[in-house]
Symmetry: C2
Subunit: 191 residues, 2 copies
């Protein structure tokens, strides 16, 4: 997605060897018009799928997911993260390790919001090592829902997330795929 790549080049900040900060438009400050365009792009990419529901995870997944939901005319459910050891009753849940923050969180959704045989599209802001998406997959599996595809705003293609998901036979569509990054240059995979 050209518009997104341009925005990443313009506003993205690279920290160290593998961290890309896009907090000016995606995950702290949000550009609503860009989110609208992102939602439309996801809707086009998944136009041939039967999708009942979008599943994402708080907080940064919410904005892109809700615009994808608008364009695809389906509800969005966001998993909540929870650090406490005890989980409430009636939830599907997964443990998710964050490499960035070096903590393990639970992620959970109320069982009322994901049912057997529902066709689910997973959306998230970033795909790096694939931990968050794996958590959502675990939750979908618990509910016996069917994950039809995965939509990612920014994929760090030099990390192992996409490979893991492809090996599971999942279709992954990322709107920007970063081949490599350093403080001088952000290089995208050629589309």
């Amino acid at each position: 997605m050209k518009l997104l790549e341009e925005r990443i080049r313009r506003d993205g900040r690279v920290l160290g060897t593998d961290i890309l900060k896009v907090d000016t438009f995606l995950n702290h400050q949000i550009d609503p018009e860009l989110m609208l365009a992102i939602g439309d792009e996801f809707a086009q990419l998944f136009a041939d799928k039967q999708i009942d529901k979008i599943l994402t995870v708080e907080s940064s997944g919410i904005a892109p997911a809700v615009f994808a939901g608008l364009a695809l005319h389906v509800p969005v459910v966001f998993a909540r993260k929870n650090k406490s050891l005890t989980l409430p009753n009636g939830v599907w849940s997964a443990d998710v390790y964050s490499f960035t923050k070096q903590v393990t969180n639970h992620m959970m959704i109320d069982q009322r919001f994901l049912k057997a045989d529902e066709q689910v599209l997973l959306i998230d802001d970033f795909l790096a090592n694939g931990q968050a998406v794996e958590g959502l997959l675990t939750i979908a599996q618990q509910a016996h829902a069917h994950v039809v595809a995965v939509g990612i705003v920014i994929e760090k293609s030099f990390q192992k997330g996409r490979q893991i998901l492809n090996e599971r036979g999942l279709q992954v569509e990322s709107l920007a795929r970063i081949k490599s990054l350093n403080s001088e240059k952000i290089e995208f995979m050629s589309s």
Copy 2:
């Protein structure tokens, strides 16, 4: 807002004497089309204001805020909640007590995203005792930004939040104002 009141009557669940669960369309599962309508309604209500930025708090504030941002053509910043005792550098922050969860959280935003003299609209999903909005006001004050108004999706008018904000001279616009609730009936303030 008629559409919202109808949705609350249809899907809202009352727990105990003062808790209203709207997790089927607002703060766990999200109805994107309703969020679009909510954003448009906020834009109409605040059409006469000069607004540079919308400020909200994760996670449930994000969807209504980002659609208001779309309709008003301004960026949205969401404050992050943080339970750890140490705060990162370069943030504006406030302590916020949640009566529902009976915990104190920090709420914080990167100082790069709120500047002196910016005209800010605060948006949140619920107004009950006003703690979350007071946290956002504290943050705005630290940044020397100017809060022009407060937009709330659902106000529990029988709790003290609105009164506190009105006493501070703030304009508060709530799309649904709940006068009272119990397991049999949800009553709205007449508009």
